[in-house]
């Protein structure tokens, strides 16, 4: 798994887990198993990035902002 995909999984996994937790609300043991499994997977995913980061990789997640809409290009445009 590439570092970028790992980062995406790190963010997405705990954000998706509540759906499963809510679905298992009547069964406390499976519900808490999902909680533990999510935490465990998260730990392993973050730990798997350790070597890449030490070698200088900077995996990151980003929302595109500003320049994609061309707003700042116009704002910072130099007069001809």
């Amino acid at each position: 798994m590439s570092p970028e995909v790992t980062v995406l999984a790190c963010v997405a996994l705990p954000l998706l887990a509540p759906a499963l937790i809510a679905a298992l609300r009547r069964w406390p043991n499976p519900r808490e198993a999902v909680t533990l499994l999510t935490s465990g997977c998260l730990f392993l995913l973050v730990y798997s990035l350790h070597d890449d980061v030490l070698q200088g990789a900077r995996p990151a997640c980003e929302f595109p902002v500003g320049r994609d809409f061309g707003v700042l290009d116009r704002l910072h445009a130099q007069p001809p």
Partner: protein, 400 residues
């Protein structure tokens, strides 16, 4: 570990709405991941706000008037500072530089005057309310009405660390350390952080409620990291980054112990803990490890980060910072060591020789397991601090 602890705590304490608790807890973890891996300030801001919103239901979990009042204060401080100050700083930075990307050396140097940079720095430091720099700190003790695992999550790891982590990111990747040294407000804000360290430690000294004492201690310790960012030296940055990890391990251990005492003995006050070390030796042994780390005594992890913070202060020639750290260390000892002494060396109140009052009665296994792991981590990081140290040194290109 908080997940493991939560299961034991929530079941032992017969908490209601556990599904909602675990759901918001997971969302909070996802938000923290988003903050940690954000590639630009806008992404970080989105997850920063998501973290506030996802932890609000955890703070108000009890559902009573006190919890709702604490929740209002929590949202008011955190959303108020971020919308009125942090968002303004973001938009201003974006309009000045055309980017919000985190870049080595920062993005502001050469584009703004030191005067404007000063205003931006003030907006960032006070706008990041999760760092609890005075006077935007009162949300943190108020949030103590939450269940103890939430307090551990809020006060040791997720929320407060998101705040100081953001301040470090802004200092290193938005301002850049070299440019930050030229900004006039840096010195002034360093004094604000130093005042927060001392004042919060003095207030902690006067708290009889154990969780409140830990909360005020957290306000004080967070400002160590803010102070480190404003020392603008490589060793200071390393010290601040290390303190995020070392403080997290120690403080989560202390909160876990406070929760274990609550569910086992229903005691919440420091003055009620005489002799509790005889009933709960494992819990109080872990508490002692956490307390030693907070003070900065070897062989606990807190010594390593405090050592680097002191070196960074000396490197910056800031003798006031050195004095504040030493004084604060003495205050840490003054509000933690009496608890340890009372737990192990004072007789339990109302002990009339009944053997049952001294009988071992620890918290459930999952609670003790989580406490054991974090306390062991607090000790292990003193002997093997390599991973956090290497990561911290990468921030500044500092070699061993």
């Amino acid at each position: 570990m908080t997940s493991v602890y939560s299961i034991g705590y929530m079941r032992s304490h017969h908490e209601s709405r556990q599904t909602s608790y675990y759901s918001y807890f997971a969302v909070a973890l996802g938000s923290v991941m988003g903050i940690a891996f954000a590639g630009n300030l806008f992404t970080l801001f989105i997850f920063y706000e998501l973290l506030t919103l996802s932890t609000y239901p955890l703070v108000t979990h009890a559902g009573d008037d006190a919890a709702r009042e604490a929740g209002r204060m929590y949202l008011g401080y955190l959303l108020g500072t971020s919308v009125m100050l942090l968002l303004l700083a973001l938009i201003w930075t974006w309009s000045l530089t055309g980017t919000l990307d985190f870049r080595s050396g920062g993005i502001l140097e050469g584009t703004v005057t030191p005067g404007i940079a000063s205003i931006l720095l003030i907006l960032f430091v006070f706008g990041i309310g999760k760092a609890a720099v005075m006077p935007f700190h009162l949300w943190l003790p108020a949030a103590m009405v939450a269940p103890t695992p939430v307090s551990a999550l809020l006060h040791a790891v997720a929320v407060v660390k998101a705040g100081v982590f953001t301040i470090l990111k802004v200092a290193i990747y938005i301002f850049g350390i070299d440019f930050l040294a030229e900004v006039p407000a840096t010195q002034w804000l360093m004094y604000v952080a130093a005042a927060t360290i001392l004042l919060a430690a003095i207030v902690a000294l006067r708290q009889d409620n154990l969780k409140l004492r830990l909360a005020w201690s957290t306000i004080s310790q967070l400002s160590y990291i803010v102070l480190c960012a404003l020392l603008v030296t490589p060793l200071g940055i390393v010290g601040g980054s290390l303190h995020i990890v070392m403080h997290a391990f120690a403080k989560i251990t202390l909160f876990f112990c406070a929760g274990a005492i609550l569910i086992t003995t229903h005691k919440t006050r420091v003055s009620e803990l005489n002799g509790i070390g005889r009933r709960m030796p494992w819990t109080m042994a872990a508490f002692t490890v956490g307390a030693l780390s907070m003070i900065g005594v070897p062989p606990a992890a807190g010594f390593i980060s405090k050592w680097y913070i002191l070196l960074g202060s000396i490197e910056a020639g800031q003798m006031i910072a050195v004095g504040v750290i030493i004084t604060s260390t003495l205050l840490n000892a003054a509000y933690f060591l009496p608890i340890v002494y009372a737990a192990f060396f004072r007789a339990p109140e109302g002990n009339t020789g009944n053997v049952n009052s001294d009988a071992h009665a620890e918290a459930p296994l999952t609670v003790i397991l989580a406490i054991a792991v974090t306390a062991t981590g607090t000790l292990a990081l003193f002997f093997v601090p390599d991973i956090p140290l290497e990561l911290a040194q990468q921030l500044t290109g500092e070699s061993k």
